[in-house]
Symmetry: C2
Subunit: 149 residues, 2 copies
DNA sequence: GTCTATGCAAACTGTTTGCAATTTA
DNA sequence: TAAATTGCAAACAGTTTGCATAGAC
């Protein structure tokens, strides 16, 4: 995630809160810390992992239902997106960086990110030639990582 | 699916049955018809849809548990693969054709297939440059199809 | 006649929802 | 203090599994 637009967390949180009040919504300690976990994690976390981390790392009480609700909310805000590596479990990440795709190790489950200009371009061409109005894409490459080979 | 290697269904079924006996396994009417549904369908079907089709189109009694078991079995045989368009529901298809990816309409849910040489090549390059032993990839482009625009 | 495959229903897993209690602005 | 958010537990949906029965070889 080194290539991420590195904004300060405080700035990010301020923007987030102003978005909330603009829409007549209320913030909560839970949202603060869920956001913090996501912001400073460079992994793709499941709802369960987020819940655990908020509880363990910040000693903040949070229910998994709140995490799911918050993820939905963040998705609608377009600041979070999820990834399913084929096991039917949603893994969430902040979508602050430019579009990227994923490499998944089928042995250890490690997830690497990559961004490839050529694939981005080619995807536009494919959409166009099928008369699709492009919105988004997901590409996941499965293989065996260096350590597991 | 016009580009599929069009082998006869009878040939396909024969190969399948010989694979079974080679492994000391037994066939069943259910497997026959599940296979038939998949072979002649050019859609990506859910377990529920497969169950319905076998029952309605061939009047063969089948439980959804059998369909799931059979899908697992076919996946292990590498003749079926599934697709999740983001809703957490598995959609199955026979993997007889060359590798292809999918275009999904976010309005009507229609699924189109495409194969792109450049993307295939580029994915190899990405895997290599990350020291991954490439196994497979999944690419799904989301957009709005011609009809829904 | 074995031994595998099936159907049913119950179990499971990840996710969603209703509701009373809490917290925020 | 009015309205939104929370935690809990129950509900849900898709998928898996145990087991007695039916069917294939």
């Amino acid at each position: 995630m080194e290539e991420r637009y590195k904004i300060e967390f405080t700035t990010f949180l301020k923007n987030f809160k102003s978005h909330l009040s603009k829409h007549g919504l209320k913030n909560s300690i839970q949202k603060d810390y869920i956001l913090k976990i996501l912001f400073f994690s460079n992994e793709h976390l499941t709802a369960e992992q987020i819940t655990e981390k908020v509880r363990n790392e910040y000693k903040v009480d949070v229910g998994i239902a709140t995490v799911y609700r918050t993820m939905k909310f963040f998705e609608d805000m377009d600041i979070v997106n999820f990834l399913d590596i084929g096991d039917g479990i949603k893994r969430y990440e902040l979508s602050l960086s430019l579009h990227h795709d994923h490499l998944v190790c089928t042995e250890c489950g490690k997830i690497l990110e990559f961004a490839d200009e050529l694939i981005e371009e080619q995807q536009k061409i494919v959409a166009k030639s099928n008369n699709f109005n492009l919105e988004d894409h997901v590409m996941t490459i499965y293989g065996i990582c260096e350590n597991c080979q």
